[in-house]
């Protein structure tokens, strides 16, 4: 398993992807678009040090917006 200690960006991304996939299991209500957006955000920010209040708010808004917007559209198979 790739780890955040590994230097290459790819390994960090793979690590985040694996965590996201595991967390997605059993969460039927969350759409794939929302999961993809969450993964994108986590790749960018999760391992970059402690997030500030402003950053957290911005990320939360992005995730909420995607989650709600995707809920209005039919799930892509």
């Amino acid at each position: 398993m790739a780890t955040p200690r590994d230097d290459s960006c790819t390994d960090s991304e793979a690590w985040v992807h694996a965590r996201v996939m595991a967390a997605k299991e059993g969460n039927a209500l969350l759409t794939q678009a929302a999961v993809d957006e969450a993964e994108q955000i986590l790749r960018e920010k999760l391992l970059e040090g402690r997030l500030t209040k402003t950053e957290l708010t911005e990320l939360a808004k992005r995730m909420i917006a995607t989650t709600r917007a995707s809920s209005l559209e039919p799930e892509a198979e």
Partner: protein
């Protein structure tokens, strides 16, 4: 990467530039207390930690530690600097202004900046601090060293993110709105399903609206509301007045006032005793936390009862439950105040309508309530702060108005009552339709929060698994080191462990005389605890082997006894032979031992002169022996200087005797370790006449010069050394002569050509010891 030198100028105790010349070797630095050893360690920490020194982080040192970092007597034209040169000749230089601002630069900055302070420097206080710290403090201290701080930060980011999503989405507020809509829905439609409600709305739409209802339910509701409003507008004055009165009383104001009052009472009832109890808890928790590691039963700070420690967590959970109930009480009151304000607002708007002009006049004439108070009432101010005085005013001045409106509304014509009911259905229907989307949004948001929380849990699981694995590896190293320091002692199985029942915690376990212990604080002496702290630090530092960074040990053996200090030498030789280690000590005997036992080709030895004053600063002694300690009080206390010289000789000569395999008569028990200089010198002189030789003109002859020096030192020690410790009447000149003689006597064993001691090479088969070049030798086999 190894360090070539550390140089200080007007930094901490340093004045004129002073250099710790390591030349990429390991080093032992001896200096009496206050001689400036720690200034070098401070300098290294300053560069590693970007201009901060941990032990100076207190209220007296200033924001930039400007009151502690520069020498207190730095002349205006001098600069405070710290510089460090690495093996590859790259350097890091910190220039510090008097106000503490700093500029750190140099091509070595990236290398030095990457060193982890806690794996590079160990100070005396930090050894015991770590052992005495709580499980949580150990966790915080070790996490970065285990390389897991990134994971901990990721987990914390996720925890905060879940919380922020709840806040930003106003999840709780949306849940409150849904709950209010549900209450209205039950009141208006009973248990009807969504489909039933839409059916009712469509039927009403067909009755009141001209066009056909579209597919969109919300549009249908809005069209219906418009149509009913138009019907009301075109109805008779009496009907309009009735509808207005119905609007004014659609929310039960008196009930809303009572709900707020009830919620306030409930909140007060739960809050007051809770706050009083919290204060006691804070006081008790402090004492409790100190005892938690060493007791199995304690007094619970939450309830005051004696409880097993494992039950404490349960008590904490109960306390959390109680606090959550108080938070819920706050929320309930907020909702009740909002409902009250909505009711007041409806009444206020409705009573302002022209349809109710005549009704208002009747009310004023009958002096019912206070309509002017209602007109002036600021609803938003009431929403922000609704106290008992406000509720009483509503009771006295507004509720009678509401009663009168409700009474008049009940007597209206049936057609108006029907219109009001139908409009209410259209209003609530619209809210129900809107709540379908809102409910979906809440569910999606809750799902998102659950997803992020699950991510956090998964990261924490991984954190735990990795910590377990790394801690297992480190524990093995700790055990190996402990075994070197404490061979054949009944304290074993020393290990780091993660307590099963605690989050964010690491502790140290061991087996004491066969009994498992969860903490070294239960049974280990201070010396053993510090020795254990040293093992843990060294085990962590060992993980950095690949980076080959230096290790600085600042007076870490202060409470370790002589026997175990000797074992530390073995540990450094066995486990850290390939690392650069810099040992600072104020222990003269240990320094002498290190100087004799460590390999001179890999280790350097230097001695600091006793500190005099800030303008003179830190100074090196020209000698690697410690006789300058004695010289430093020649003028003020010559007897003490003589006594110091004797004590130095007691230790040094014991080590020399061991090296040259000098045969000494056996004494009982500890007396073997407490022989005096004279005993050694007497034997050394006697044996030296047979064994101590110097190469001259192709052959070896007895080194008579050395024998004379040894005899001279012995003579002076017998006469003045004893007087220095017993009759205290030694003159400064006598003491100086004694010190010089002692120093020269010890130098007999060092070759003036190659600089090596006479025991540098050991030809066991021939019973010979010799210096590197062979000029001096000791034929122990002959003796």
């Amino acid at each position: 990467m190894r360090v070539n030198s550390v140089e200080l100028a007007w930094f901490r105790g340093a004045a004129a530039p002073i250099e710790l010349k390591l030349a990429s070797k390991s080093m032992v630095v001896y200096g009496a207390n206050g001689s400036g050893k720690s200034s070098f360690v401070d300098g290294v920490e300053y560069l590693i930690s970007d201009g901060k020194i941990g032990h100076l982080a207190h209220e007296y040192s200033g924001r930039r530690q400007e009151k502690a970092v520069p020498n207190t007597h730095t002349p205006e034209h001098e600069r405070t600097t710290v510089s460090l040169a690495l093996l590859d000749d790259s350097t890091v230089l910190a220039v510090i202004a008097q106000d503490g601002t700093r500029l750190i630069e140099g091509e070595g900055q990236s290398e030095v900046g990457a060193w982890d302070y806690r794996r590079t420097v160990l100070r005396q206080g930090e050894v015991s601090d770590f052992i005495m710290g709580t499980k949580g403090e150990k966790y915080s201290a070790l996490l970065p060293l285990l390389g897991l701080d990134t994971l901990e930060i990721a987990a914390e980011n996720l925890r905060q993110l879940a919380k922020t999503i709840e806040e930003v989405s106003r999840l709780q507020s949306m849940r409150d709105v849904l709950q209010a809509t549900k209450a209205k829905r039950v009141a208006t439609f009973g248990d009807d399903s969504d489909a039933d409600i839409l059916h009712v709305i469509r039927e009403l739409h067909a009755e009141h609206c001209s066009g056909a209802a579209g597919n969109d339910a919300l549009t249908c509701c809005n069209e219906l509301k418009e149509a009913i409003d138009e019907r009301i507008a075109s109805s008779s004055a009496e009907e309009r007045r009735h509808v207005a009165l119905q609007d004014a009383t659609k929310s039960d104001l008196k009930k809303r006032v009572e709900e707020v009052r009830k919620a306030t009472q409930k909140l007060n009832a739960s809050l007051e005793p809770l706050i009083a109890e919290r204060i006691e808890v804070l006081e008790a928790a402090l004492a409790f936390a100190r005892r938690l590691d060493v007791q199995t039963v304690t007094v619970c700070p939450a309830c005051g009862r004696s409880i097993p420690v494992e039950h404490f967590r349960q008590h904490i959970e109960e306390e959390r439950g109680r606090l959550a109930a108080v938070v819920e009480a706050f929320r309930t009151r907020k909702v009740a105040v909002a409902a009250l304000c909505d009711a007041v607002s409806s009444l206020k708007i409705a009573t302002d309508k022209p349809e109710l002009d005549s009704w208002r006049k009747e009310l004023e004439a009958a002096a019912v309530g206070d309509l002017s108070y209602l007109g002036a009432l600021q609803v938003e101010a009431l929403r922000a702060s609704c106290e008992e005085d406000d509720l009483r005013a509503l009771d006295e001045k507004i509720c009678p108005v509401w009663d009168a409106a409700a009474s008049a509304a009940a007597k209206g014509p049936s057609s108006a009552q029907q219109l009001t009911k139908e409009r209410s259905k259209a209003d609530v229907g619209a809210e129900v339709v809107a709540s379908i989307d809102r409910l979906e949004a809440v569910r999606r948001t809750e799902s998102l929060v659950a997803f992020v929380k699950s991510l956090e849990e998964s990261v924490r699981d991984e954190l735990r698994q990795r910590a377990l694995s790394i801690i297992g590896e480190i524990s093995q190293d700790v055990q190996d080191m402990w075994a070197v320091l404490h061979p054949d002692e009944p304290i074993d199985d020393v290990r780091l462990y993660i307590p099963e029942d605690a989050d964010k915690a690491i502790d140290i376990g061991l087996r004491f005389h066969g009994v498992s212990q969860d903490s070294p604080r239960l049974t280990l002496s201070e010396g053993h605890r510090n020795s254990l702290g040293l093992c843990i630090f060294l085990a962590m530092a060992k993980r950095e082997d690949a980076h080959d960074g230096p290790i600085f040990l600042d007076d870490v053996v202060i409470s370790v006894d002589r026997g175990h200090r000797g074992m530390i030498v073995s540990l450094l030789n066995e486990q850290f032979a390939d690392r650069q280690v810099v040992v600072f000590t104020h222990d003269r005997d240990w320094y002498s031992e290190l100087r004799h036992q460590l390999d001179e080709s890999a280790w350097r030895f230097q001695v600091l002169l006793p500190y005099e004053k800030p303008t003179i600063g830190i100074r090196w002694s020209h000698s690697v022996s410690t006789f300058d300690d004695a010289r430093s009080h020649l003028d003020s206390r010559p007897d003490s200087a003589a006594n110091d010289a004797r004590k130095i000789m007691d230790v040094e000569l014991a080590l020399v005797a061991e090296h040259v395999r000098l045969k000494m008569p056996f004494l009982r028990a500890e007396k073997n370790d407490k022989r005096l200089s004279h005993d050694f010198l007497e034997r050394l002189v006697a044996a030296g006449r047979r064994c101590l030789e110097e190469r001259r003109e192709g052959g070896y002859i007895v080194n008579e010069d050395a024998i004379h020096l040894l005899e001279a030192a012995d003579t002076l020690l017998v006469s003045w050394g004893n007087r220095g410790s017993h009759t205290f009447d030694v003159e400064p000149a006598e003491a100086l002569q004694l010190i010089d003689a002692c120093e020269q006597a010890l130098e007999c064993f060092r070759c003036p050509d190659c600089g090596r001691r006479i025991w540098f090479a050991d030809a066991s088969s021939q019973g010979l010891l010799m210096c590197e070049c062979g000029r001096l030798r000791w034929r122990y086999g002959k003796g």
